[in-house]
């Protein structure tokens, strides 16, 4: 498994898997950790706060990165006959679709 053969597959799958996992992490609040900015404290997994805002964004990023690394790493190890079928277009089609999903999810902010 050389860099030039496996990295493009890894990069394409990572872009797609990361985008999908990111939107799933947000929809189901699968943050790997939570940050409470007023007290500057980190908590493992999701921990809402009653007296301050809780920030899940960093945790969503961490969940998505770890998940996408695992998926892309596995796919990059598949035999070349499978990996070569993955079009480079997926590296932008899925992220672009996820961006449109966010526009739909957040449309309420712009229609109030």
């Amino acid at each position: 498994m050389s860099f030039t053969r496996s990295f493009p597959t890894f990069a394409i799958v990572f872009a797609s898997a990361y985008a999908v996992l990111y939107v799933i992490s947000i929809e189901y609040n699968l943050a790997l950790f939570t940050y409470h900015p007023a007290t500057e404290e980190f908590y493992f997994l999701v921990k809402p706060a009653s007296d301050q805002p809780a920030m899940f964004w960093y945790g969503w990023l961490a969940t998505s990165v770890l998940g996408a690394l695992a998926i892309a790493g596995l796919v990059a190890r598949l035999p070349e006959k499978f990996a070569s079928r993955i079009s480079s277009g997926w590296s932008w089609i899925v992220p672009l679709a996820v961006m449109l999903v966010f526009v739909y999810i957040l449309r309420g902010y712009f229609t109030k």
């Binding site: 872009a15 990111y22 480079s88 992220p95």
Partner: protein
């Protein structure tokens, strides 16, 4: 301190905006004749030479944005909610998610802009550049507008 970081974040964003705009223009609207005017010279750059700088600037700008994000969450967003500025709030929500999605595209973006450029992936390069350019422009404009509405220490 947070104002210094905010200004540094903005300066990095300006640099990133310039680099990705040059690259996007040179990919989508390449100069066909000898570049003489200001606009033609903007379109006549060698786009591949910007790729590494764009990756580094994107990571640096996003990292700095993540560092100052808690201050935004406490000092700005709550005020936006109290003032019922829903569109401004939603624009920032989109910004954070677009930037996050853009982060995941960086490995592919970097790979497909590696020299020698593969002709088979010209469209992928062009679209990845366009999507990242949109993310950067959206983020820059939203950040600028929100800073105008309420800076961190006003």
């Amino acid at each position: 301190m947070i104002v210094v970081l905010l200004i540094l974040h903005a300066l990095l964003a300006v640099t990133l905006l310039g680099a990705i705009t040059h690259q996007a223009l040179s990919v989508w609207l390449p100069a066909r004749t000898q570049a003489e005017s200001f606009v033609a010279r903007m379109r006549a750059v060698t786009p591949a030479s910007y790729a590494n700088a764009i990756v580094v600037l994107y990571l640096a700008t996003a990292t700095l944005g993540a560092v100052i994000y808690p201050s935004y969450r406490i000092n700005v967003r709550i005020v936006l909610e109290q003032l019922q500025l829903y569109a401004a709030n939603g624009a920032f929500e989109l910004k954070e998610h677009f930037v996050a999605v853009g982060l995941g595209m960086l490995p592919a973006y970097w790979y497909f802009w590696r020299r020698p450029l593969a002709p088979d992936h010209a469209r992928t390069r062009a679209v990845l550049t366009a999507v990242l350019a949109f993310v950067v422009w959206w983020s820059f404009i939203v950040g600028h507008l929100l800073n105008n509405i309420r800076g961190f220490e006003t």
